[in-house]
Symmetry: D2
Subunit: 431 residues, 4 copies
């Protein structure tokens, strides 16, 4: 894979101090178009207010790094209660579903909190003690990755917040440049992989979450993977063929959801004057049929695949296939640099290899989120980071247009409940 940029190498060639600045700066950049009012809203229990993300990621460095070093607590005691997400080992948490009831601390006060922690962190990261303390480096690395995860959530959450407002607020304009797409219907649309024992999972010294380990063997039957993502136009065909009205296409729980919630289209699609529009981070726009479908949940992905006579891949299949392509694509930092819209992009017309494996949309897999054979959670409070969520969630792979480019890996396992629609989640077919 000579063409693959080794992002881990790129990452480690930067000092921790540099990377800290870059990551923290991106969080600020993502907020620069927001008003204080925007930063308070929790539009559903899954969503957190922007201000909470800004404070929580800061609380993480304060709690797991600064306070470990010298007992330092930057600010008020009850911040720990307010901004602890789910770490029972650290203490009680303000109820998640009530985060939207808090107007204080204000955005300004949270910024001050960030500044205070940043100042201490800068001193720490450039000091001798830090260079000598590998455990501390591991936690800072985790803290940076943690903040990057929340950067994606800041975007998906503010998109959901804005989507509840009939004024259709625009988060950020962007250019919509993109290339054409050929049909997926012909034989060339699939890549084949042989049966065999494969190794999957993370190994080596570069950073990965504990849920990606240990590297272990799986047996795979031969399979095929679609060379690009499902498009909005293709999904419209499914809808036109009664996709949301035919129970035989759906998992039982999915069909119950369709009936109960009256789903008739992906989240954020609106039929206006008999024309489909899509609410995006650039406001309500005409649906682009060439672009990858996004904001579908596991049930919709599964039903679409069944309708197409295909299926969605397992996470092992996806990871094995991903070895053939570089870890590059449309990620949030690149899109911002290029002033492009924060939305999945049209696939390239020429596809010498699997396209769109990284960036654009998270790809649902049929794999329930479970511990790998031999999995051991991290010690202490940070062991709560991943393992305790391994139930009733499904794995998604590859990152999205809201993921920072140096955050993703081939072995990266994202996970959401089967009914979740507010992430940039889409479909790649397998068979």
């Amino acid at each position: 894979m000579a063409t693959t940029v080794d992002r881990d190498t790129a990452k480690t060639s930067l000092t921790f101090a540099d990377r800290y600045e870059r990551v923290r700066q991106l969080s600020s950049t993502l907020c620069e178009t927001l008003e204080p009012e925007d930063c308070c809203i929790q539009s559903m229990a899954d969503v957190s207010p922007t201000r909470w993300h800004l404070a929580h990621t800061t609380w993480f460095f304060e709690t797991f790094v600064l306070s470990k070093v010298d007992g330092f607590r930057t600010l008020k005691d009850n911040f720990s209660y307010l901004f602890n997400s789910y770490y029972n080992a650290v203490g009680a948490q303000f109820p998640r579903a009530r985060r939207g009831l808090l107007s204080r601390p204000t955005v300004g006060e949270v910024r001050a909190y960030r500044d205070a922690v940043d100042e201490r962190m800068r001193r720490l990261l450039t000091g001798d003690r830090f260079f000598a303390d590998e455990d501390l480096q591991t936690i800072v690395e985790l803290g940076l990755n943690h903040e990057q995860q929340h950067q994606e959530l800041m975007l998906t959450d503010i998109k959901h917040v804005f989507s509840c407002n009939p004024l259709w607020p625009v988060y950020r304009q962007g250019s919509t440049a993109g290339s054409g797409v050929s049909s997926i219907g012909n034989g060339e649309g699939w890549r084949r992989f042989d049966e065999g024992i494969y190794w999957i999972g993370h190994s080596g010294n570069n950073f990965a979450y504990d849920n990606e380990s240990p590297r272990h063997r799986v047996f795979l039957d031969a399979f095929q993977l679609a060379e690009r993502l499902v498009t909005c136009g293709e999904y419209l065909e499914f809808m036109a063929d009664g996709g949301y009205r035919r129970p035989e296409l759906w998992l039982s729980e999915g069909w119950s959801n369709v009936c109960e919630h009256h789903w008739q289209a992906p989240l954020y699609w609106h039929l206006v004057d008999e024309e489909w529009r899509e609410f995006t981070l650039a406001g309500l726009v005409r649906l682009d049929q060439q672009r990858p479908l996004c904001h579908v949940n596991y049930f919709e992905a599964d039903a679409y695949a069944r309708w197409r006579g295909a299926r969605i891949p397992t996470e092992a299949e996806w990871e094995v296939a991903s070895a053939q392509v570089p870890v590059s694509g449309n990620f949030v930092d690149l899109l911002l640099e290029q002033k492009r819209v924060l939305h999945p992009s049209v696939a390239p017309a020429a596809r010498p290899q699997l396209a769109q494996m990284f960036g654009d949309v998270w790809e649902w897999t049929t794999s329930s989120y479970a511990p790998y054979s031999g999995y051991q959670p991290a010690e202490g409070a940070l062991g709560e980071y991943n393992g305790k969520f391994m139930c009733n969630q499904y794995v998604l792979r590859g990152g999205s247009c809201a993921t920072p480019s140096d955050h993703i890996r081939r072995t990266y396992r994202n996970f959401f409940p089967a009914s979740a629609r507010w992430q940039f989640s889409g479909i790649r077919l397998a068979r």
Copy 2:
């Protein structure tokens, strides 16, 4: 009643234009201590964000006054959808329970909306056409009273919002000056009223809501009314005597609520280090046992009265008794002027007449909110103002420390569901 200030006379001695300025200004004053973040939060379905109150009261003038005059619409079309509260005749409404999901228009944009409407209203109110149009005057009068109602709600709503925040934000500091109180236990604590036919309800040309009319006769048996409000200290005795643990003291629905919600004290009371504290608009303070009890609901008022071997009055009894006292007391505008805390005040030690009938706290009555004999709702959309709520609500009388002083009348009928606790609502006993 020589000492009674005739507030209606005072009111009408001002021009409409002057009164418009004063009322609108008070809304601004009430927001001056708030951050933009504070103005977005909806802490329960009954609460509206401050920003919504500011916009809705403005929408009222735009919709029922300006647009009637010349079809004028100040701002965006969908403001009408967003800021219509419940007037079906005017059009669809953004769902009440979702008002807290809106971050736009921002506080600044709402202020601009207010300014634009104010400018048009000023021109109108000083023009010849307005002086000649009595219907228009009636609607402006209603609009001013409507905004005053929302001023009270702005205070009770922001108090509820802040009460959800473990940081206990302070809305506004104030002095806590007040006089002592004598015991209610002795015979002098009650005033007697004879049986007979009495007239109640509004008549005359001064403004009143349609629900206060027509003036009509009721027959009352002889009754007694307590000369002052129930205090926090007295309520503590009820609590100490098992008040919240004895079903025989409660209405059946009240007891269900006690069990389901685990009520053990009035809303906003907190036991901190074995000492009772009360969350107020001035933050969390030590409970003052001399002050009138507030933030109890109908069930608590009824249970307390039963425990005391008394009852709460009917609205007719209250109105008949109120004829003996001037319409004066601790109201929000006076408290602000005097830089006093926005909270009910201790009763005067000397009480030549019924004390605390007006201001301090709304007094629960045992009267279900129902149409008076001969009631006719107003014509058109404004007929939805009152009549359609005449079911499963109870009448409260006398205004509170959050009511503007020129808003209240002896015939004024406020109403809330029996379970509502977030208003400044308290108890006066009858027997």
Copy 3:
């Protein structure tokens, strides 16, 4: 009122022992068409299984009579827990909403329980001790009235249970004889009553519930009362005129209910092949437009009256008007004797006086269920019988086709929440 049968006199001419037999026998008669399976079902929280009614009415005699006499407990201890409805003073209660989860004791066991209590009661009622003990007589009288109330509930509850079954079970066939009806539209349809002070409420030695006392004065403005009940045909006109689609006709809470529950017709009406049918105790039958409307709630009654330009009466108006008519009509025992269908009957064509005031359907009044001036609940546990429900309920008057004929009085106050539809409740207009 020479034609008025004095039912109280008739009642007291029977011995207690005779009346006990008759009342208990009617409960058995009402169950004779039911299978054991029918007697277990609780189709909503408001409904109790037939078996529970049979056991609870027996528990009442055991608890408040037999156990008071000599500590006698007929059967198992936990029956008291299972069959106590809401008397906190007597002990804890099996949760009301879970009554449908019990299959034991079986119907047969409950019958044996009834027999055992009956045997003891017979001995008591014919003994000297009972004749000498007026307090005991009062409680037995209450127990008999209590069982009669449950006889009505047995019918309304089993009707609701059967209505959930698409097989439309028939509870009991009956003849549908009835006379024609003339139009209510002309002036003769109303009776006039003068303004004045009236006495309402119960006095004297005959039995009445505590909520009917004391007799007291009310002032009434002049009013008119419709001479008969609203018919199904008239209500169809309301529906045809958009009754369920026009918010301006509804109380706000009623309109919310219409929208949330998609009400489009009274409970038990079904549109089958474009023809309205009504589920009755005799199964699903074609809607008879001449018969009185029933199974509407307070909101529907209020909306219909508003649409007709009228209103529903207050309970005082109803009681004052009822003095002019005998306490007679279509009651359950008479209908059973005559083998007629257990359903409201068509009004007589000739109406020399107010028709249908008693029997047929309970008539909604606009009066919130509240204590009368001077009301005192009974002492002890039986004080829980009525008073604690005086909140958020509305009074209905006159009895229905499911009420035993010697149970009703002019002063009788029935009460249900405004949203309740499963009782035989209908509309008489006032203005």
Copy 4:
């Protein structure tokens, strides 16, 4: 595996007609201790009334066999609506959660329905046409297995129904004979299995559900399996060590459930006078610490395993290990024959091989219920039998004391949501 009884061979040595009689008879036997009232109750949405099970299993033969043969419909049309469980392809279904609202058809009518279908089925199964029609044989085979599944549910459902009744009804007495148990703590308690590629899943001509196919390869790392089930006594140690109070032992969703539902012990355990009792099909009995734990859900199984420093096995591990033991154990038909209590039995003291792999309790695995590689659902309506439930459920293996002995297989995949506790589900550890 010379000692393994080949149950499939035993099964096929019987004629279809014989097996039909035996299976249908067992359903009747399971009801012989029930009263009609018992057969109506639905104590939660997951539970179906006994009567419904009896009718639904009959509806299955009528719908998928008899009506296919000659359009024959035994009984009323709406039975299909009432007793269709979830086959959308067959038509609409009466809502599952409302099955407890039906009192008709009565138990007697359902028995008559069964008799009528049985008579037709007998004729069919002994006729030439049936012997010639392999498709029909396949469906009858499925129908028999289907009824056996419902036999288990009849038991677990009636147990739940009875558990809601404070009278603690006894379903069926039985002897409690059982042997002692040695400690699991020593090294001999585990069996080791080597890493490698294994085949799992069903192949061959004998009956299996579609979800057990196709037979396919998996790679397993080396693992160990506990030689017997976790006992009640061992679980008491977990509880004594704060098992239900320590969030670090639980999956996040499990901990939320513990907090919300206040779980403190397995379902059906009750602390009475400081002694643990267990509600069983033989009533409320003293907890036997030697017996296998049952009625725990996935979260409890997972938490217990974590506390023990172990884990629960994957379904592939379980299936591979099961190849070493015969398919025999404590099943419902054997327990009935031996007049033993319908409850899991104590493990034998001497364990030359893995004990209790079949019967006693279903064993939770960590495997999410998902399609096997290459899975194809059956054609037509019967394709809805399994595949559409492959989401958010976990696989259990081995059958229980409520499973018929000729129903289970090594490849058999049962599945329930992670929160389900009302099945006979227990724990075998792995590591």
